[in-house]
């Protein structure tokens, strides 16, 4: 049932043509620090955006999988492939790719990252999709695939310098996770250039995400 629901949402997202996810490319000459944390995952990323079309990220990721804990260190490029700016909405498609290492027995094994993100948002609603693959060199069975879908709404319309609140539902599927499917409702709060998200997944795990642009 859940897989059918996810499949329909993925298909809708891909073919709608104007849906997407978080913003790996911000405004020109800016920096951002992002972190996503839960019991199963800890992800830290520093990004410098050179132009409104591309950025470079340094990223370290810890993932608790069914095969044990895995750590990745992957620098990657992010490209804004397409943006639709409308008066009441914005939609984006981003592509990311990079090459780094997975820490295995105190050495680094080659890993490549490929990701596609799309999002659509208005001041009231938000939808995003991310498909990410961590491809382990010469060890196909260890590849990690993650699909993330998000939908949210703002209970009130906040102005530019006011506290913004959002309710977001995130569905995540991984091929190597302790849980194959995770459903996490979040409360997102942001003020000026600081954003936090706090959520609890269906198995009771707390999630904390934080982002800052400067």
């Amino acid at each position: 049932m859940i897989s059918k629901f996810l499949l329909i949402l993925v298909i809708m997202t891909v073919f709608d043509g104007h849906l997407a996810q978080a913003h790996p490319v911000a405004y020109a000459d800016s920096n951002s620090i992002m972190t996503w944390n839960s019991k199963e995952m800890s992800d830290w990323m520093y990004t410098h955006t050179f132009t409104p079309y591309y950025s470079l990220s340094a990223r370290t990721t810890r993932i608790l999988t069914s095969e044990g804990e895995r750590r990745f260190y992957i620098p990657h490029f992010n490209f804004l492939a397409k943006r639709w700016n409308e008066l009441d909405s914005q939609a984006n498609i981003y592509l990311s790719f990079g090459h780094g290492g997975e820490e295995v027995s105190h050495s680094l094994k080659d890993v490549s990252l490929l990701a596609v993100e799309t999002d659509w948002e208005s001041r009231k609603y938000y939808v995003s999709f991310r498909q990410e693959a961590l491809l382990v060199y010469k060890k196909r069975g260890s590849n990690l695939y993650m699909t993330k879908l998000r939908a949210g709404f703002a209970p009130y319309l906040a102005q530019f310098n006011e506290l913004n609140s959002w309710f977001i539902l995130e569905a995540e599927k991984t091929n190597k996770g302790i849980e194959s499917y995770t459903l996490t409702p979040y409360v997102r709060l942001f003020y000026r250039n600081v954003l936090t998200e706090i959520g609890v997944s269906q198995n009771g795990d707390a999630h904390f995400n934080f982002m800052i642009h400067f």
């Binding site: 405004y27 020109a28 700016n85 001041r123 906040a158 530019f160 913004n164 000026r192 954003l195």
Partner: protein, 92 residues
Amino acid sequence: MKKIIIPLMLLTTINSFAGEKINVTVKGMVCSFCSQGITKKFKQQPSVKEVNVDLDTHLVSIELKDSQKLEDKLIETVLKDAGYGVEAISRK
């Protein structure tokens, strides 16, 4: 008569030195977290005194310093660098 003319002349002189006000209707400006780059980028311009963003009306209001100018092309470039599109520019 002098009492009326002199204050009027003073007022006119003060107004001629006041900074120009520009209203820009911006496309894609829906998220205040993502739009912070707009104020940051405009404040980096030496001619800009103040910038205000109104998400309800999609307007970025720019007040220039006295006797300063900001070309439409530069406004469009700044907003493009911030990730947005320009719908219209009006000046007061």
